[in-house]
Structure formats: structure tokens, C-alpha cells
């Protein structure tokens, strides 16, 4: 098993080979070992301490190099790289739709794709540069405290794919970064330290050089050089330069302001007024780089050491910092919410929405604590004005609506929390850490609420990191099969070659009890929410069909012999209904987005024969008119008789042509995508569909309900299933009107009257029996 430690030891046997770049030779950089932290670094300075914040204070505070705003800092970087033949790219969404992560946590994630279950890089251009807003929620306790942590930060992403001909490798990368630091930003070359490190990904690794200056890590150039396959490794044919730098840190170091937040949020701070900062705090912020709650665990001991060094009273320092952390954190959290909501994220209690709710509620609390007399949406839209060019298609109205709903939900839950907290107070019980996490998870009660209510509790320093990490990664559901199919050839899929094949012959290649594998099949296995085909194989009923890897497994009522050639028949009627329901699902998804907004995304779906369901991300239950409008639009599309087009596209091309909306069913694991297009709706989909929308037949929404916070389920059916459903309703209504002896349209009234009469009679009979 390769670990970072093993790699480090291995590379350090030959540091010149892995880390030394031509610049070091040309300018005479020397390799030293930091006397403080023990890390190896390269520098021109004679100092024996590296440039990391754990080894130095923020030495640049107070010395301004240039007066650049946050945006101007980016413009300088972009201009420099574009001048060096890099293609500028637009930012990607912060909600990650193309890779199994909830959020874009780093610039390189933009180019991460899966091939089966392996990580693969796909670059739209080479080399490239972009500023990518990233969301990370594992550093929340440090935000506002150590001046470098953010829940939303912009990563400057410099990328090059090097195959010996195109792109560039280590020497050129470090040349460029050094030139950027020294020439563009005027940082003294003696003050630049390159620290040796390694990077280890799921199936690749390589050396990396972090560049630091005056106590601040500015960037990290990762050289993805080796790949791991089947526990051995080799050099990649195409190596990757992945340099990620913090734009906030560049802006801060050139301005030399007291905190990075003062530099980055300068405009907003000017408008809302800067917080009071006394001498103790000024001294604190020079040293605060060493605050890392996750590593230190105990914030108190880190603060005590700083307080001792600056001769400040620890209790008073903590009090002052609490207010200041609230001030800086709400500026950060509101920017994170801006990007998340603009990109279709919804605060909820499921998946990534959970993390958004955490920061939204933290932001609301901080707003109060920092005594900022603005609403959260005011603050969010202040950011959006400053960052307009990163937010071309923002729907302000929708964002405001979501914030309003979330805020009122929070107030309601606070009332509930108050009662729970009071019960703890009454009993004098102190909740344990596990209890605190549980109370937060199920009731949304923050540990701060206990503290504010007067309960003497210590808030675990990494409390928010712990709960956020629980919800951070998508859990991959893997289809499990009890039998070994690893030696079997992939099943030939006849339904893709010709979807009209319903009768076919096939050879039984493997039998496990009642499970049968054929050399080829026209039985569509359950996948992408479409339930499987049924029918007969050699006269035996097919009960279930699933795909495990590339092999299709048919579960039969009775076993079959291996090697036998069998006659197979797919149940045509079932197939037709499933096809209609699948195409209708795409149509409904499109219409829901049209009616409700771009935040609507498929969360899950199932296409059965009696009905289909589509679960979408939406913050409220559907109003009746919204349901009706979705249905009306869907039937309009049916009536238009649009062609259902199927095309195979290379993944990057599909993304460029149709955007990330194609990943409604989740990130794709293939390099070539099967794109199903119905009018303006394009989805990567492996399902079986009608040829045109008219074949879907009338679409009927049966009902919709909120199945979880932020998730709405729409149940519907189409074609004959819809007509039969309606006819059945008609029959029942007819029967009811006969029972009540009234006209059909008067049935609800008559039911009401009868109900009242029944209740009255029941009361009377109760009186009688007394």
C-alpha cells in the first residue's frame, strides 16, 4: 500500500531527480532542511527556517507591494499566463456534477473524470489557466481566525498536459510561477521558498513543490508523474502539471493588509464599516498562521501561546476574537452561499445541501454576533456586484426566495431547539460530543445554543469539520453479486444494436443456481432507474435482469443447462410502457426546470410499469399550479412530436455542446457518452426510449410530495397507463355520484355534507348511549 510517507522517503533518496528544476541551478537555489519543522526546502536565502506559516509569522503584513483589488489581482495573473500561451478558461460550477464529489473542492477537479472507477484527467485545452471558486467545509473552525482559511476560495489553476511534445513539465512550470511571483507581483526572490512535498491521488502520484513567502503558502505545483495500476506503478505517458494557488493569498501578500479578509472583501468592508481592531489583535494577526484547529485540536493552547508571546490577556483576547471571527466568517460564508446558490445548490438535510445549511445557519448567527445591520441576502448581493463576471446567469429572485425560506425554517427550528436546550438546563445535563453531533444532525441545534443558554459546555474545536465530513463524499452504490463473474466475457447488448429485437437466440454461457448469463441479450437490465425487461428464456419466466460490470445476469424461475442454445422473448408490452415512462421522465425533468428554475436537478428516478417517479432538487413542495404547469408543458412537448435523438459523443465534446446538465443521472464513467436529446433536453443516458414524443402519449402527473428537505418527488404515468388510470377514476367518480345521488361536479360538496351529517349522527348516538 503506497502512502505519502513511503513516497516522501522514496523521493528523498534522490531529491535532485524529483524536485530540482532548472531554475534552482540557474539562480543557485540551495536545498536545506528547516531547523524548525524539518521539511526540506529550496531557497536563495541563507536562512535555515522555511517559509511556512507554522515556522514564521506573516512577515509581509504592513508592507504593501501593489494596490490591487481581488479582481485586479486575478486579472494580472490571467494576463501573465495568457501572455505565456495559456488558454483562459471560464470557471466551472461549484456544485460538482461531473465527478463524484458534492462540491468543486479544487481547480483540478474541473478536469477529473471517471473511466469505470478510475480517475482520469480530461483537459479541454492545453495549457490552461483559470480562477476557480472552490467550496470546502472542513476548515470552518479556522475561518476568520487564522486569516488564510475560507469555506469559499478562488483557486488559480495552472494546468499543463505534457507528453514530450505538447505542454510543458516541471522546469517550465516553476519558471513561470517564479516569474509571476517576482516580476508580476514584485516579491523579493530571496523571500521565496520552495518546500518539497508529494501528492498521492487514487491512482496516480508525484512530487510537488509548495511555494511560500514570508510565512504564507501561496501555491502548490503538483507534478503528476506516475500512475498506479494493480499495485505496481510506472511513469505516465502524459504527465500533468497541476498548480493550484490561492488567489486570496496573492491579493493579501501584495497589499500587505492585516488579514486576508481585509484585502479580499475590501469593498464590502468599506460599505459596512470595519470592525474595531486594537493593538493586541494587530499583534495576534501577525502570528495567527499557526492556528490550525484540526491539527492543534485544542484552540486554547494555541491561543495561550500567542497571548503569551504578545503579552495579552487570554480571556480578553478570546472575547475580542470571537466577534472578529464572526465578522470575517460571515463575509466568507455569504460568498460561499452566493456561488452555491447561483450554481443550483439548495440547503437541505441531504447530501451536499447539508453543508450549505450548516454555513447558512452559521452565517445567520455570525451576522447577529458581528452586529452587522444587514440581511444575509444584502451581503450576498454585495459580493455578486463585485464578482459579476464570475456570475453571468445568476437568478437573484430565486436566491432571495431560497434564503427567505431557509431563514424562516431556521427560526422555527430555533424555537424547537430552545425547548430541547431548556430540558437539558433543567436537568443540569451536559451533552457529550456524540450527543452534540446527534442533536445537530437531527434537530439542527448548534453547540453555541447550549452555551448561549448558559450551559457550561466546551465546544469541540473541530465540531463543524466532523459533522461536515460525515456528509462530504457521495457514497457510491455498487451492485453486488454473490457469484464470481470475473472470467466471463461482456454480454453482447442487442437492445442497443437494434431496440426492435424482442425475439432472439442465445447461448447459455454460465449458470449459477437460477441465475443465467447468455452470450447476448435483448433483455434490458435494471439501470438508470429503468426497471428491467421481463419475458421468457427457453419457456422459463424471467424474474429479474441486472448488469454486474459488463455481464448481464437473468434471474429465472428455474435453472437452465450451460452450453444450451435457447429461444428468448422479451415482454413487448412491458418494454413499451417502460420506454414511454423513461422518455416521459426526461420531459418532466426538463419541464420542472422550466417552471421551477435552474436549481432543479434529478436526484433519483424509477420507471416502473404502473407509474414512474422523478425526484428533483427543489426547496419547497410544489404548488398545485406548478404541478399543472409542468404537466401542461410536458403534454405540449408530447403534442409537438419531437424526435428523441440518440447520439454518441466523446465526453468533453458532449459537455461543451450541452453543458453539465447532461449528468442528470450522476457523473458518467465512460469516455464516450450516449446522449439522449428531446428538444432542448440533453442527458447522458443508457436507457431505452420512444422514437418521438408523440409515442409517449399523454403525460399525467399523479401527485407530488416533499420526500426530504430539498427533494420533491413527482409521480406520473403516460400513454395507455395514464388513460387507464383516468378511466378508472372516471368509473369511481360515476359510482360516487350515484351513491350520493348528485351530479359529478357536485361530488365534493355532497361528500362534505354527508361527512358533516355522519359526524352529527355519531354525536347524537353517543349522547343516546350515555
Amino acid at each position: 500500500m503506497i502512502s505519502k510517507e513511503i513516497l516522501m522517503k522514496g523521493f528523498q533518496k534522490n531529491p535532485e531527480k524529483f524536485w530540482k528544476v532548472s531554475l534552482f541551478d540557474e539562480l543557485g537555489f540551495e536545498r536545506k532542511r528547516c531547523k524548525n519543522c524539518g521539511k526540506f526546502f529550496w531557497s536563495l536565502s541563507e536562512e535555515e527556517i522555511c517559509g511556512d506559516s507554522s515556522c514564521r509569522s506573516y512577515e509581509f503584513i504592513g508592507s504593501k507591494i501593489k494596490d490591487l483589488t481581488f479582481l485586479e489581482t486575478w486579472k494580472e495573473i490571467e494576463k501573465f499566463f495568457v501572455g505565456k500561451n495559456h488558454h483562459p478558461l471560464k470557471r466551472y460550477p461549484v456544485i460538482c456534477r461531473w465527478f463524484p464529489l458534492y462540491f468543486t473542492v479544487a481547480g483540478i477537479v474541473n478536469f477529473c473524470r471517471l473511466v469505470d472507477d478510475r480517475l482520469d484527467f480530461e483537459f479541454p485545452t492545453n495549457p490552461s489557466i483559470l480562477a476557480q471558486p472552490c467550496l470546502r467545509f472542513n476548515d470552518l473552525p479556522n475561518t476568520g481566525l487564522n486569516s488564510k482559511s475560507y469555506s469559499c476560495f478562488f483557486m488559480v489553476q495552472q494546468t499543463s498536459l505534457f507528453d514530450g511534445k505538447e505542454g510543458y513539465w516541471k522546469d517550465e512550470c516553476i519558471n513561470l510561477d517564479f516569474e509571476l511571483l517576482t516580476k508580476v507581483f514584485g516579491i523579493d526572490k530571496e523571500k521565496i521558498f520552495f518546500i518539497e512535498d508529494v501528492w498521492l491521488g487514487p491512482n496516480a502520484f508525484g512530487p510537488s513543490l509548495e511555494f511560500h513567502s514570508q510565512g504564507l503558502e501561496l501555491g502548490n505545483a503538483v507534478f503528476t508523474q506516475f500512475e498506479i495500476s494493480n499495485s505496481s506503478y510506472g511513469e505516465l505517458d502524459k504527465k500533468v502539471i497541476d498548480m493550484g494557488a490561492g488567489l486570496e493569498r496573492f491579493c493579501w501578500i501584495v497589499r500587505g493588509s492585516l488579514t486576508s479578509y481585509d484585502a479580499v472583501f475590501e469593498n464590502i468592508i468599506k460599505k459596512i464599516g470595519a470592525p474595531e481592531i486594537d493593538d493586541d489583535l494587530k499583534k495576534y494577526f501577525k502570528l495567527c498562521g499557526r492556528i490550525n484547529i484540526d491539527e492543534n485540536k485544542d484552540l486554547d493552547s494555541a491561543l495561550r501561546s500567542i497571548a503569551g508571546q504578545i503579552n495579552a490577556d487570554l480571556r480578553k483576547l478570546k472575547q475580542k476574537l470571537e466577534k472578529l471571527q464572526a465578522f470575517y466568517s460571515v463575509l466568507d460564508h455569504s460568498r460561499a452561499l452566493l456561488f452555491a446558490l447561483a450554481d443550483g445548490g439548495i440547503p437541505s438535510n441531504v447530501a451536499g445541501g447539508y453543508n450549505l445549511r450548516v454555513i447558512l445557519r452559521r452565517a445567520l448567527n455570525f451576522l447577529k454576533k458581528a452586529k452587522i445591520e444587514l440581511s444575509l441576502s444584502d451581503l450576498i448581493f454585495m459580493h455578486s456586484k463585485d464578482l459579476k463576471e464570475f456570475l453571468p446567469e445568476m437568478d437573484e429572485g430565486r436566491i432571495e426566495e431560497i434564503l427567505k425560506i431557509e431563514e424562516s425554517r431556521y427560526l422555527q427550528s430555533k424555537e424547537r431547539s430552545k425547548r430541547i436546550v431548556e430540558s437539558y438546563l433543567k436537568e443540569g445535563r451536559i451533552p457529550s460530543e456524540e450527543e452534540l453531533i446527534k442533536l445537530y444532525d437531527s434537530n439542527g441545534i448548534t453547540p453555541e445554543e447550549f452555551k448561549e443558554a448558559g450551559l457550561d459546555i466546551e465546544i469541540p474545536p473541530n465540531f463543524y469539520s466532523k459533522i461536515v465530513e460525515r456528509h462530504m463524499r457521495e457514497k457510491e452504490k455498487k451492485e453486488e453479486f454473490l457469484f464470481d463473474i470475473s472470467n466471463l466475457k461482456p454480454t453482447k447488448l442487442l437492445f442497443y444494436e437494434d431496440p426492435n429485437i424482442l425475439k432472439f437466440k442465445a447461448k447459455v454461457v454460465k449458470v449459477f443456481q437460477n441465475f443465467v448469463v447468455l452470450d447476448q441479450t435483448a433483455f434490458y437490465p435494471t439501470s438508470g432507474g429503468q426497471l428491467c425487461d421481463k419475458g421468457f428464456i427457453d419457456g422459463i419466466k424471467v424474474l429479474d435482469v441486472k448488469k454486474v460490470g459488463n455481464v448481464v445476469i437473468h434471474q429465472l424461475e428455474k435453472p437452465l443447462e450451460e452450453g444450451k442454445v435457447v429461444e428468448c422473448e422479451v415482454d413487448k408490452e412491458r418494454r413499451e410502457i417502460l420506454k414511454r415512462h423513461h422518455s416521459a421522465t426526461h420531459v418532466i425533468n426538463y419541464c420542472a426546470r422550466k417552471v421551477l428554475g435552474k436549481h432543479v436537478w434529478q436526484y433519483g428516478s424509477e420507471k416502473d410499469v404502473d407509474k414512474a417517479r422523478l425526484d428533483i432538487t427543489h426547496f419547497e413542495k410544489l404548488e398545485e399550479w406548478e404541478e399543472r404547469e409542468i404537466e401542461r408543458l410536458a403534454n405540449e412537448i408530447v403534442e409537438k412530436d419531437l424526435e428523441v435523438k440518440i447520439e454518441f459523443l466523446e465526453r468533453g465534446e458532449a459537455e461543451r455542446k450541452y453543458g453539465f446538465y447532461i449528468y442528470q443521472g450522476g457523473p458518467a464513467k465512460e469516455k464516450i457518452l450516449r446522449i439522449v436529446s428531446i428538444g432542448e433536453e440533453h442527458e447522458a443516458c443508457g436507457g431505452l426510449h420512444c422514437n418521438s414524443t408523440k409515442e409517449i402519449g399523454p403525460i399525467l402527473i399523479l401527485k407530488s410530495k416533499r420526500i426530504a428537505d430539498g427533494i420533491v418527488r413527482i409521480e406520473f404515468c403516460s400513454g395507455d397507463v395514464a388513460l387507464n388510470y383516468l378511466k378508472e377514476s372516471e368509473k369511481i367518480l360515476e359510482e360516487v355520484s350515484k351513491i350520493l345521488n348528485c351530479k359529478e361536479e357536485d361530488v365534493p360538496n355532497a361528500v362534505k355534507k354527508l361527512f358533516e351529517r355522519w359526524k352529527k349522527k355519531m354525536k347524537e348516538v353517543k349522547k343516546l348511549s350515555r
Binding site: 383516468l726 359529478e744 351529517r757 355522519w758 349522527k761
Partner: protein, 55 residues
């Protein structure tokens, strides 16, 4: 009958079922039960009244 017309009937039925918080398919059965129970109660009341009159 058009889809729209059938849809309208479905809505009427749903509105009626919602009053009693039952599934549409159960509505006829529930209504019949109500009518039967009302009838039974009325008979009972009637009987009680007759008994009280005669005594």
C-alpha cells in the same frame, strides 16, 4: 372523452377523497359505510324515541 375532460374528473374525485383523507379508490366504500351508519343511527334514535314515548 378528451384527456382534459378525464383529467378534470380525476381532480373532482381527488378533491372529494381529500375531504375524508382516503385514497380515491376507497371513496365509494367509505361513503357507503357512512350512509349505512347514518341509517343505523337513525333507526336507533327512532327506536329510542318510540320506547320513550311508550313508557
Amino acid at each position: 372523452m378528451s384527456f382534459e375532460e378525464l383529467r378534470r374528473k380525476k381532480e373532482i374525485l381527488e378533491r372529494a377523497s381529500e375531504i375524508l383523507r382516503v385514497e380515491p379508490k376507497d371513496l365509494p366504500r367509505v361513503l357507503k359505510r357512512f350512509l349505512k351508519e347514518i341509517e343505523e343511527v337513525e333507526e336507533k334514535i327512532q327506536r329510542e324515541m318510540e320506547i320513550s314515548k311508550s313508557s
